[in-house]
Structures are given as C-alpha cells and as structure tokens.
Symmetry: D2
C-alpha cells in the first residue's frame, strides 16, 4: 500500500508518542496475566528486507504493544468511565460495549460506567439525552444484537461543552467508538482536557466497516460485513441469470476504498465486475464499462457488477459542471448513476436487457458481529480498558502484525488505507472476475 512505502522510506516523518496522563503508580488488580511494558514494540514491517534497511537508518518504525500494565494510573475505586458510540452502525458495536463493561467492572472493579446516548450529542447538555448506568448484567446478552444499545449520531459537538460534561460528572475515562470524525473529536476532547489539566483518559476504538485506517490493519465489523455480502451476491447472481442479458448492480460500502467490494467479489466469485474508488474506469469507449458489459453479456447472457459507493466519483464532478440544478442524492450515488447510464445506452441500441439494483448497506451494517470478528471486538475492548486504566490518552487500539497496539490518534487519522492494485487482494479480484478481459486490457 502507498502509506507503507512512505513509512519504510522516511520513518521519521511518522514519529508520534503515546500521551500519558502521568506516572502509573497503583498495582493493577488484574490477575493471572502476563503484563506488558511500555517498551514492548511491534515492528511496522515484518519483511526482512525492510527490517534490515530500517535498522541501518536508526529510526525503526514500530507501534507500542497494547495489553495489561503492571501499574495503573487511575484508581478503580474512584474511576467513572463513559462509553460513546458515534457514526453509522457497524457489526460489533455491542460486543465492544459489552467487553468494556465486563473488563472494567469485573477485572478492575470500576463501579460507575455511563453509557452516553446518541453519540457526542449525549455529551452536550442541549440535547438532554440522559445517560444509562451500565452493569455487567445489563450487557450480558447484547452481543447477540446488531446496532448499538447506546444509540449513535453523526457529527461532533462543541469540544468545550463536552469536556465540561465530563468534568461535571467526574468522568475520568472516556471510550469513543467511531470512525475518522469521531476519532478527531476524541483527539480534541483529549487535548482540551489536558489543557484544563484534567486527568481524563480518552481512548478511541476505531470503527470503520470499510477497514481502511492507515495504521490499523484490521477494524472490527469488516469481517462480519464481508460474510454478510455472500448471500447478497448470490441473490444478485440469481436475478441476473433469471433474465436475458440480465444485469445486477450491487452497491456496497466503501467511500474512499474498495475493500468490502473487492472482498465480496472474491469471497463469492460469481461477479463479473468489481468497481472500486482506487481503479479508474470509463463508461464509454472501447475500454469502457458499456463495451465491457456487452462482451460479458455476449459470453454469459448475464452479468453481476459490484460497485463500491466511492467508485467513479469523477462522473459527478463532470455532471455538476454541466447540470446546475440537479439534486445531491442522485449525483453522489454511483450505483443509481450506473443503472441509469447503462439503461439509457441499452435502450438507445434497442437491446433486450434487464437491470436490477441492490443497495444492501443497512442490511450489512446492522447485524451482530459473529465468530472471530466478535472475538476481535472483545479483545479491542479489553486492550482499550488496559490503556485507559494505565493513563494513556489521545490514542486508539489498533492491530498490527497479529498484536494489539496503541496508535496515537493524530497518526491514525493522517491518511486512509487503499487497495493497492499490485497486491494479492486486487489481483485475486481480477483473476476471479476476469474483468480485464472484458475491459479489453
């Protein structure tokens, strides 16, 4: 991936420290675990050629290893923790909440855990959303439910107001579960609290169903989301096969990156095209989608197109220049755009065809995390609690080379990870779809 090369070549440019509220001085009440020290690091690259080069450079990029610390900063007896979930739904939100509550209450003995309602709105008094008090008993079965028991909202609130809410309620630990915007909000809260000399640990748990955080190799919910696409792709294939020149267009998540679209295509390899933001394509011309689609139809009499929501955004720029009054919704929806554009061309050529459009995003986002993804949520939560109790702040829990890591929020939000066309995932997609043959490359 792109970011990867940059770190290897210039590791110093990505130098960030994990912020600590102070020196941890209390013995951890956690029993029977191997404690991890702050000195333990996970190498950025596990490729020997990179390790050798970086060793010679002297600045060896690495992440701090997450895990329970022998000494903690916050006194559990005085600790009041709060949990907030922000942004769109994602499988695993309730698993993370359950994990946080269980570890806080049962491993550390924290007695007061607030569930903040409806995202950052719940930290702003003007919305009057009263928080819950969360207990281990309350959260016992929530891992079987999709969504978030806390509710969510989009957007940030006034930082100063939010920090005042925390202070007013003596909250010294805040867990922020959310995407890019949420994490930036968490960063601002952490910084503002420090400015006011408040010892508040703000720990992020990154939530992006698109799995495209630059310094985190895997985010929760993604795996379940990919599983969830399997039957949808089968349905799209059945619909396409059911008509002469039947075409199914499946729009999947992925505003900036096409990981879910690519994974869905490869996991249930009956699709003929996968369109992602990272790979440019045209509609017209000999190498365009319309010509390619016609080649696919000539061969199979049906075709399935998987398209990430962020693919082909160039079409909307062109369009908005020419058409001023056009609504926002139609313009940004590549799925509907493709449906309309292909429709128009087929009709103009008086071809027999049939297009069906699938937009299953909410049916993917809102299910419960399962299997290994649910385990991942639990472990993120566990490590978030360890980080918080040890007095870290302005950091999030990442995963790198099979270890959970501490990642400074300012680092994690620098850039998004993208599909790199030369890598195995995209190569697999091209091999499974054979779309390059249709595009004429």
């Amino acid at each position: 991936m792109f970011i990867y090369q940059k770190v290897i070549e210039n590791p110093g440019a990505y130098s960030f420290e994990i912020t600590k509220l102070g020196v941890p001085a209390l013995l951890s009440p956690v029993k029977g675990r191997e404690f991890v020290s702050d000195d333990e690091l996970i190498a950025f690259s596990s490729q020997v050629k990179n390790i050798e080069r970086l060793f010679h450079l002297g600045t060896f990029p690495a992440f701090q290893k997450a895990g329970p610390r022998e000494k903690i900063f916050h006194d559990p007896a005085w600790t009041k923790a709060a949990i907030v979930t922000c942004g769109g739904l994602c499988p695993g939100l309730n698993d993370v909440i359950k994990g946080l509550v269980k570890i806080l209450a049962l491993d550390y003995g924290v007695g007061t855990i607030y569930g903040i309602r409806y995202g950052y709105q719940g930290l702003s008094p003007k919305y009057r959303h009263e928080p819950f008090l969360l207990t281990p008993e309350m959260v016992d079965g929530i891992h079987e439910l999709g969504g978030t028991i806390l509710g969510s909202s989009r957007g940030n609130q006034d930082v100063s107001e939010m920090v005042e809410t925390l202070i007013r309620h003596d909250i010294n630990i805040l867990f922020c579960i959310g995407g890019d915007g949420t994490l930036k909000g968490a960063r601002d809260i952490a910084v503002e609290a420090m400015k006011r000399n408040q010892k508040i640990s703000v720990i992020g748990i990154p939530k992006t169903i698109d799995n495209d955080l630059a310094f985190v190799e895997k985010t929760f919910g993604y795996e379940t989301a990919v599983y969830q696409t399997f039957d949808i792709i089968t349905c799209a294939h059945n619909e396409a096969e059911g008509a002469y020149n039947g075409i199914s267009i499946v729009k999947l998540m992925g505003r900036d990156s096409g990981f879910i679209a690519a994974a869905a295509t490869l996991a249930n390899s009956v699709a003929d095209f996968c369109l992602v933001p990272e790979i440019d394509f045209d509609i017209d011309g000999d190498h365009g989608l319309y010509a390619a689609l016609n080649r696919a139809l000539d061969k199979n009499r049906h075709a399935v197109i998987v398209v990430a929501e962020g693919a082909g955004q160039k079409f909307f720029k062109e369009r908005s220049e020419t058409k001023d009054a056009s609504g926002n919704v139609l313009h940004s929806d590549i799925g509907i755009y493709l449906k309309d554009e292909l429709n128009r061309r087929f009709k103009a050529e008086k071809k027999e065809f049939s297009i069906k459009y699938f937009d299953p995003s909410y049916l993917i986002r809102s299910v419960a995390a399962q299997g290994t993804d649910a385990i991942f949520c639990h472990m993120l939560a566990e490590n978030a609690v360890h980080a918080a109790m040890a007095g870290k702040t302005n950091c999030l829990i990442g995963h790198w080379n099979n270890f959970f890591t501490h990642v400074p929020i300012p680092l994690a939000t620098i850039e998004r990870r993208k599909i790199y066309p030369e890598e195995a995932l995209w190569k697999g997609v091209v091999s499974a779809t054979r779309q390059n043959d249709y595009f004429g490359y």
Copy 2:
C-alpha cells in the same frame, strides 16, 4: 375476504368447468397411489353456516380435487412436455421445475422434456432462445438454488406464434409457471390450440409471491418470502434504534395486496406501522402518518414503518395532476415518496431525526424455497403433471381447504385476494404494532 362473500351469496356466478382434451383411455403407469376421480370435490367453504345455506341453494360451489387419475389421456411414450417460467423471480421456481421433471420422467416415463428459455420469449422464434432438454439428473440439485434455471421474461408473446412453436416441436404438454399475466397467456395458448384442434394440455402453476390469487388460498414462495423478511425487519429496527428519532422505512412486495407486509410485521413484531394497499391513510392531519409517527417517536424515540409497494397509491394520482413534469420512477415508489415527504416535514419543523430506507425485494425473491414451502412446490408440480397427463387444459393447480385443486384459469384471474380488515391477520398486525393508537383511532 370480499370474494368469499360474493361466492357464498351467488355461487352460480362463478361457474366454470375444467376443460378436458378428450376422454382419458390409457391406464396410468403411476404405482401405489390412491387415484382420484373427477367427481371428487372440495367445498368452497368449510364453515357449517355456509355449507347449510349453500346446500339449500342447490348450487354448491366447490373445486375439483387434483391428484393422479386412474386413466390418462396422453401416451407417455409419445409425450413431449415443455416447461416455461415467466415474470419476476419467486422462491421455489426451481423446486417446481425439478418436481415436474422428476414426476414426468420417473413416474410417467416421459422421455422428452424441454426447458423453454426466458419465459414466453422462448416460444417465439424471433428471440432465437434455444430450449434445454431437461433430465432428472440435470435437475437433481437445483432445489438448492434461487432463481430459475430456465431464465424468465416479462410480458406475453404472439399467441399464434407460440402455438406454432409447440406444434412444430410436437409438444403436447406445456407447464406455465407465472403470475396473472402469464396465466392469461397460458389461457390464450390453450384456447388457440383447441381452436386449431391440437391436443395440447396447458397447465398453469400460479406464481405470486404476494399470495393474492382469488381462488387459491396459498401460492408457492410466499412462505419463504415471509421467513426472509425476519432478519430484514430486525436490521431495520436496529438502524432505527441506533439514532435519536430514528425511522426505518421498509418497502416490501405487494402491489395490490399487503399480505407480505402484514405477515412480515406480525412475524417479527418490532415494527410500529404497517401500511398496505387495502387500508387508506393520509400523511397530514391529526390522524395522518406524520402525526402518528411523531406520537410513536415521542414514546420510543424510534419507529419502524413497513409499507407494501402498492400502499398509498392515491398520493401519486394527486401529485401527477398538480405536478406535470415529475418523473415516473419517484411517483410510483411509495417508499421513496414517504421518505421524501417525512423528511421534508421533519426538516421544516427543525426536528432531530434520521430516516433510513430499505428496499429488499430482490433479496427476498431470489432465494431458494425452503422447508414446508419447498414441499408445497413439489406437490404443486406433482399435481400439475397428473392434471396434464389426464388431458386437462386451461386450468391451474390451486390449494383449498388443505387439498390441491384444479382451478379453471379464467376463474383464477377474475379478481385478486385482499386483506380483509376485520380478519385475524390484520387484527394481529394492529395488535402487534398498536398503530391505531398512534393514528389516534
């Protein structure tokens, strides 16, 4: 239901005969079964009060019982059968195809079974869709697949052309699996063949996922469709709960009747509103949807609206009178209409809210039939073969009071079944949603 009363009161008005191509003279090769005679009838009503009244009237409405006949009309050794699937996908199409092929080949010894491709198009030479030859081995695993292995198309073709295709290929049995339009096509083929003195049995297997055929109490695919809605309603509920004043609108099938919407609402009783074509509603006013929705939100802070695609069609009539230039697509889609209208009102009132729209139709239609629904498909197919071999034509296989029946196609296509507001299904919906309280009735 409405039709019901009319039959009870004036049974003579619904007098139709099952058409026979001739006198069945060959002994059936079917072994080990109880044969059914053409005299066996299934009463229209099983309510004693109706039975008594009708007995006195002298014309007792009843259906001919389906099943294997002791004597058959078509000689299996000379029989060439054909199967065609038309219209939109529906769970169970492949089960019906599999059942037809297995019973024809293994129970009757019919050697030639054509799979007509892409609906009635496959009977018109101008489309050049070559038919398959279907064998029991080929269809062995197709019940696990959604869709139809034959492909489908909408609309009818020239009747004369289709009958000529049948004659040219010596096809003496045609099974037409499809909805209202398809069945009318089947009727026309049957009538045209008879006019030309061709001994062609045309047997319909009614396919309406909406389960709204007037003289057939249950159609295949409906049951699986209702099962399929369960997780979708849960997802919609999760999305609604996940936001402050979160609203999920789920559009389900049901152009003329709301059976699927009502069943989905009752099966997973977390929805707050169910809107169907049979029950009128307004958007504005004290008893309107907007007011009702606000009452629901005031109580629960979220709401789920299930809406059948044919609900609220009056809004489009009004609209098209006042707004001339408006596009076709937006007008006929009640789901998007509601989303837009509610959106506008909430915004105008500057309320905090969030609407999510679900249109899962293709994800319901295209799955494989399961469980008791798959069994139902098998039995429809079996009875269709018995009817065909016995030389019936212009009839379809229905189900009434727990028996499979022969229904003349002209009768079956008279009228559609609708939800009757006083009956248990709708009462259950009202009870489960408590929507009348919200509407203020």
Copy 3:
C-alpha cells in the same frame, strides 16, 4: 389418515362439548373486531362427498370456531392469569408467551399475569420456584429468542397441590403450553377446579414439534423445525459424498409419527432413505435396509438415511428379549442402532465404507420460530386469550380447515395423527428418494 375415516363413518363416537364456566355476561373490551358466536362451526371434512354423507347421517362433525366473543365471563379488572410451559423445547414458545401477555394486557386490560417457572413444578410449592410478573414491556423482544423464558420441566405434579396454588394466588386463568402429557395435566386441573367449584379457565395450547395431534391439523414449531432441517440434510449429504461409500444417518424427531423426517426428506430432496414409525422395514434379507443401502451405494457411491426416532422400534423388543443386561439408552436409539448394525455388516463383508451419525434434535427444538410459524403462534395466543376470557375451560386451541378452533382436551388426546402411506406426503417422499427401488419393491 386413519382417525379421519373413523370420524366420517361414526361421527357420534367423537362427540365432546366445550366446557363453560358459566354464562358470559360482561361486554368484551376488545375493539374493532368481528365477534364470533359459539354457534359458528368448522366442518370436520371439506370434501363434498363426506359433507353429503354426513348431512344425511344427521350428526355433522364440526369444531367450534375460536375467536373473540362479544360477551366475556371473567372480569378483566379482577383477573389474574398465569402461563406455564412444559416438556421439551419447541420453536415458538416465546412467541406464544408474548402473544398471551400482549393480548391479555393491551386488548383486555388484565393487570396481573404470572409466568410460572419450570413447568408444572412451578405450581407445586415444594419446588419453591417463584413466579415472574409478566408485562408487555418485558416480553417485547422475546420472540427473537429460542427456548422459553419461563423454563420448563417434564412430567406432571400433584393436581390437588397445583389447584391449591392457583386458588391461593387468586389465579382464574391458566394457559398450559405443552404436549400430550401437559394437556392431560391441564384437563385434570380443569376438572379438579370445577369439582371445587372454582371458576378457573384452563386453556391448552398444544405443543408438539412432531405435528401429530389427532384433531389439530397443524401445531406451532413444526414449520420452523422443518426449515431448520434443510441445512442439516445438506451437511449430511456433503459428508456422505465426501467419502467412498459414505453413509450419513440423520436421526430426527418423531416418536410416534414421522412427519418431520418425511418433511425434511421432501424439503431437501437429497436423501436416499426415509425411515418412519409408520412404515415397517427390516435390516436383513433381500428387501432389507442393508441390501437396499448397498444398491444405493452401487449407484451413487454415497447415501443419506433420514430416520425418525420412533422408527424400527421392533428391533429393540427383539433385542431386549435376548440381551438382558443391555442399557436403556442404546436400545431405544434407532439412529445409533442402525449405525452399529450397518457398521457390523459392512465390516464383516470387508467393504470400504464410512458412516457418519447426526443427532441434531436440540439444534432444531431450541431456535426461535420464524415467518408464518411465528404468526401462527401469535394467533394461537390470541385465540387462547379469547377462549379464556369467555370462560371456556378444559379446551385447547386447534386449527382446522384454515380456522382456529376450540377442541375439548379429552378429544385431542385420544389418538395421535400418523403418516398415511397412501397420501401425498409419503408418496412425495417415496418419489423423491426412490427408496422403493432400492428396497426392491
């Protein structure tokens, strides 16, 4: 079915009345419904030949139609209802509980509803199981859970003790959800209460996953159970195909009747044998299972055997005569018996083979009811409440010819329904498996 013929021939022998505690005198608070009078009856048979014969006999067998009555017996303001679930798990228990609570509380305004814990044990003071108080809010989401929130137990308790518990707590309505034994217990409670001149309505909701109640054409949970078998049969088929002469034996529920086994076989028609209690079979001899299995293996190199738990019980009688010390468990389990016996014969003949045994019963019983089955549960509950409030007792809610019915418990427990080999279900199984060819019939 057998019982059917007997009723047609001698309807007088099955004459039972629905017991009423007294004359209903209060106006029902239920709004907007069509009330049903006690005179409305549903004919036992909807076949015209039977109707004609029975009319002439003068005693026309019919069930009382269930539904809301205009006048009720119990005063909602003074009513205390109780719900008890008994016997093994079955999909839909929680739907029925939810339905009962919602209708009692919201339609009738009953304020006190006890959830009796762990079956009839909860009515016996010696077990000290404290009851719950059930509210509409508490039961709101339970339809998504399998099992029963009340817990269950097998077996009856002392009738006198149970009635005293009801009296002590002023309970005037008891809903008993369970099978044959439970319903007999409910009958005894009803009779004992009447003897003591207590106005207690005891209403049964029949629960038999095997769907084999004689005067009830469909019981809740059966449909979901059949859906649940689909993937299990696929897995069994995959395992069988995965080995040379691979054999999968799937034992399904069905102690006295083979409905689930037959339905599972027909719904996912990849099985080669279906063995049920109603159809005798041998293991040895030219028409025996071993020879048949070898014929199937010679053809396909693998075979799937579905066996109902009550099939082949004759083998255990023989065995226990010869082997005295043998344990109970092994003897009554036909699945393990077949596995062992086939194993022994293959080994003796030094054949290459591999047998896998599936016993998925608990994975079927313990899931939540879905789709149309969940709706059926709701309607059973609704009708049970109507019956109870109207002062019926010692009856259960049945379903017949598409109507919900009142069935006297003594009638319902006379005999079990069985697969009738000449009927469509079994014919379909024989046709789908082609097992008669293998057995050499």
Copy 4:
C-alpha cells in the same frame, strides 16, 4: 506459544530449506503482477525485542515469501497437474480446488488438471477410483458447496505405488490438501519422486480445522467453523435455560488444541465453562468440575459447558487401566464421559437437573467457507500454484505476519500449536466465562 519461545532462543534448530526441483528458466505467463524473489523473507517475530536479539545472534529465523515468480520451472504446455483432498471435511476445500483450477488454467494455461478421487486411495490402482478431468467451467459454482467434490479418505497409501501412478500419468504437479498425516504423505511422495529423479512438484495446502499447525498462523476453514458455532452455542444456552439446573454440554473439535472451543466460547459469550486439552481439570474435589458446576448452577440455575474433544484425556487412561473390557468409543469421547459422570453424581445427590449433549462436529465441518475465509482459500490456492510452477516441492503454503509463505513440510509437521494460557485468547475465555471463580481459583 511454546514453539515460539524455542525458535526465538534457538533459531538454528529450526533451519530448513525449501526444496527446488531445478533452476526456473521459463518466463512466467502471469501478467500484471509484482513478482516475488526467493530472497524475500518474512520475519518469524515482529516484536522488536525479538528482532533485536535475533539480529545479534546472526541466524534470523524467517519464512520464504510466497507469490508469483518471474521465472518458472514447469512448462505449462507440458504440465499435468493433480489435486487430492484427504482426511475429514473442512470448510473451504472446494474453494481451494476452484482456486487451483482457475489459476492453473487461466493464469498459466495448464490444460490438464486431474481431480484425484477419495484422497490418496485415488493414487493407488487397487481402489480403481477413476480421476476427473477438472476445467474452469466445472468448478465455477463449487465454492457454494460444502464438502469436497473430489471425495476424501483417511490414511496414507503405499508411497511407491502413488509415485508410480503419478509417473504413469505424466503428472508433474501434485497438490495435497490435508492435515498432518496427509502432509507427511506428501513429503514422502516428494522425497520418493526425487529419489527416482522425477521432476514432480508436491505442494501441500494445510487443512486443519483446529488451526493448530506450528509454523502456520492460520489455516483455512477455522474462521468459518468459529462462525458456525455461534448458533449452536445459542441453542445450547436456550436448552440449558429451559430447565431447572439445566446443563448443556457442547463437544467441539480440537484433539490436541482447544482453539475452536475457546473461540466459540469467546465469540458467543454465554458459556460458563470451556474445557480444552491444554488446561488440566478434575471432576471431583473442591476445585473439580462437579463442584464448579454446582456453584454456577447455584448462581444462574443453568450452565453451558463447551469442551474440546481432546480435553480431559487423562480420564481415559485411568479408566482403561481399571476397566479392561470397556469399548473404545465410549472411552475416548470426553463429551459423553462428562455427561455420564455428571449425571451419576447429580443422581446420587438426588438433585433436580437436566443434561443435554451436543455433538455438532459434522454440521460445522461440512459447510461451505464464507467471507474472508473463502478469500483466504483463494489466496492459498493461488500461492500454491505459483510455488508449484516455480518448481518448489516438499513445501506447503503457510501464512505468517500477514504474508503467505513457503514452509518446508518437515518443519510444519514437527509440533502442533497450542493455546498458551497466558495469552489473550485464553484470558478472554476466562474473563468471558468467569470459570475460575466457579473452579475456586
């Protein structure tokens, strides 16, 4: 994990080379990929403290990176490849087969690909299992099916015979998909072929649903298996809750390691006990399972026990010493053993209880791989083809620190990976179940 420490401390002890049949001299026909050179290595450890230590030792343990090579050894035009699947079913077998066929045929242009039937038996002439010829069209839909289209068998065959079969049919590439025993067989075939100076690439694709290969961090099928356990654990919980002192025992795969049991417990955290081979336990005594179970029942009135099949094997050693005549089957099944032993103790104490036993192994093994697991299968297959075409032999495709690797088979089969009690997975299990509290530790 144990093996880990040993490698870190004494990396030289694990020095193995990847065997090459000769110098690759042909240009690869693979287009548009970044080629990987044999010098590219993936570090054994990504922990900086280990990297530093190892660098100073001079022997830095690392795996050869897998991927397409610029020059290949086998000429595609002359290549005949064969695929064999061995041992028990595992999700993903068909994905791997599909991937191998697609990449061989479409990326390399290999024209002849044999599917060997029923494991190594298919390479021994005495079984007379004729191979398939596999084409890309044939395998197109097999990823949706569980099991293996090739069939499988357990155990190895005579190496000399198998090599002769390969030679007789001019097969120069053999892919062996299987577990420990299969891989040892693959190793023997590779060595024997080299002895005979035959240029045959033998590439292993490791299949262990238990995910316990020492030098491979993840094996295919494991992830799907863990997903598959989710509903089973829910069912077990429903059954346990449904009875007073209800106990469900769920036996899961894991002969030598408890990864699936631990993962299942953590993924659906409603279990109370997780018993694995790596952690010793007793049944009696104050810290024994019986006492622990009673503590759990006193708290919750129900309990779920998840047990790996290899847990508590010490009980069988003791038993077989005392009881000589006892059968093999009962002895080695820890699930049934626990059921019987607990049963006996509860009965002796005359406690009210109910035990249900779940053995879902075949329902987990035989499903199709989904989601990210299916992608993993595709990539394993792709890398296996690259390794084979490049002339590697006696090696398998592994995965380490996010890269696909070449692992010499003799290395991979040295030892099995086990749960390390101090690590996060087991800690999570202990935290989710709270079983140490019950055991009194």
